[in-house]
């Protein structure tokens, strides 16, 4: 079930490449604007870089989440999904996994480039990458619940951001803190464990919530 859904979504992503690339382009563009905005003071930029990267990753992820269920909702595939895809847990997980690969994982792979642009200290880079790798699954999984709830509402973008901001906050806090500690040469294991913990918790709980939220959205339409 997971594999079938994963394949279906992957085909969809491959066939709408420009849409799938949007968040990555946004991330790259915003990072370069920050680099230009800070001008010559590369030291201050380096200090702010962990926070900038994490916030941009969070926002880019929101951008991609908003579109996660929209197309399926509009063409009715979501009705069939809610009615017939069994077990829902695995099917939802397949959908979110593709979103993560196309967004969270891709952004993690792009992070070294961002670190270079934003003058992040080389010592912080391994921690940043590990933090993103552990933290972005939580962003996608928790975000999918919000996306499922708002898919039927017109102009759900702002609502989605409002809904998810408090839920994404822990990931942001631990992620930035880990990167700062890594850059200062301290051990960041505690924060990384927290990120991993949040992701595992989200992995076990949110697919149920997402499936329930999808049903509510479909019934309300």
């Amino acid at each position: 079930m997971f594999a079938v859904q994963f394949r279906r979504e992957w085909l969809c992503v491959l066939r709408s490449k420009d849409e799938a690339l949007n968040p990555l382009v946004f991330l790259f563009l915003a990072a370069s604007l920050f680099a230009i905005g800070f001008g010559g003071s590369s030291d201050r930029l380096g200090e702010a870089a962990p926070a900038i990267i994490w916030v941009l990753v969070l926002l880019a992820n929101l951008l991609s989440l908003e579109a996660l269920f929209r197309r399926d909702f509009e063409d009715g595939a979501l009705e069939q999904f809610v009615l017939f895809a069994q077990p829902q847990f695995a099917a939802v997980l397949g959908k979110v996994a593709v979103q993560w690969c196309a967004c969270g994982l891709a952004m993690t792979l792009l992070a070294p480039l961002l670190a270079l642009m934003l003058n992040l200290s080389a010592a912080a880079l391994p921690t940043l990458l590990l933090g993103l790798l552990l933290g972005t699954p939580a962003l996608s999984l928790i975000g999918a619940v919000g996306a499922a709830l708002t898919v039927g509402l017109g102009g759900g973008g702002v609502l989605l951001a409002l809904l998810l901001a408090p839920l994404h906050l822990p990931v942001l806090v631990f992620g930035v803190s880990a990167t700062l500690d890594g850059g200062a040469g301290l051990a960041a294991t505690a924060q990384l464990y927290w990120l991993a913990g949040i992701s595992v918790l989200a992995l076990t709980l949110t697919p149920f919530a997402t499936a329930a939220a999808l049903r509510i959205s479909v019934e309300r339409s």
């Binding site: 079930m1 079938v4 859904q5 394949r7 279906r8 085909l11 969809c12 066939r15 709408s16 197309r71 399926d72 509009e74 063409d75 009715g76 595939a77 009705e79 069939q80 999904f81 809610v82 009615l83 017939f84 895809a85 069994q86 077990p87 099917a91 479909v218 019934e219």
Partner: protein, 213 residues
């Protein structure tokens, strides 16, 4: 006594401050084909969605056997080809190998003629055999409706819930739908169908939804 495939028992429902149904009763047995008629907004789609379990805001009880639902929205993904759409649907919905609980009722299902048909065969039956690999975004509205109808043939399920299956179809397509419905009923299935056009199926009975003003 043949067991009922779909039962509405005393269903009452108000929507948007208007009473759509008041203690509505309907039973479909094997071989029954019921066409729901009524003005726009008289609750045809709501009734079908209630039968499918996509609408729960009503009083009373609805009990349905395993079914296919083709709604207003086709449920056909524009990015995938017709064949991929069907294959994915089949594997998501009927993957009995991994999930035995989803197996259709064998007692009723065995008598049905359709089902067990491959995606390519199903597409050929609805007249789309020539274009299995074009993206559905390239297809016309009527062709997409045909893809949705091809889903009915993939797996044998006793009950079909069809929301205006004739819209967007040409004369040929409308005849095809009526043939499919007739064959399904003759083989012991049941069809509940919302429509504005008369169905020329021999077994079809009409239920007029009062509603309106």
């Amino acid at each position: 006594m043949c067991s009922a495939l779909l039962t509405f028992a005393e269903v009452s429902c108000a929507r948007g401050g208007r009473q759509l149904f008041e203690r509505f009763n309907l039973t479909l047995k094997a071989g029954d084909c019921v066409a729901l008629r009524g003005a726009n907004g008289s609750g045809k789609s709501t009734l079908l969605r209630a039968a499918a379990g996509l609408f729960a805001d009503f009083n009373g009880a609805v009990d349905a056997a395993s079914f296919h639902y083709v709604g207003h929205k086709h449920g056909v993904s524009a990015l995938l080809s017709p064949k991929e759409n069907l294959l994915m649907h089949e594997r998501l919905a009927g993957s009995t190998r991994w999930w035995p609980a989803a197996a259709p009722e064998a007692a009723v299902g065995d008598a049905l003629p359709f089902g067990g048909v491959s995606a390519a065969q199903a597409l050929a039956q609805v007249g789309l055999g020539g274009a299995p690999d074009t993206a559905c975004s390239q297809l016309s509205e009527g062709q997409r409706r045909r893809v949705a109808l091809a889903r009915l043939l993939l797996e044998r399920r006793p009950l079909w819930l069809l929301d205006e299956p004739l819209t967007a179809l040409d004369a040929d397509g409308r005849r095809l739908v009526q043939e499919l419905i007739t064959a399904h009923c003759q083989a012991g299935g049941a069809v509940l169908c919302a429509t504005h056009q008369a169905l020329s199926c021999p077994s079809a009975t009409e239920v007029q939804l009062g509603g309106g003003a």
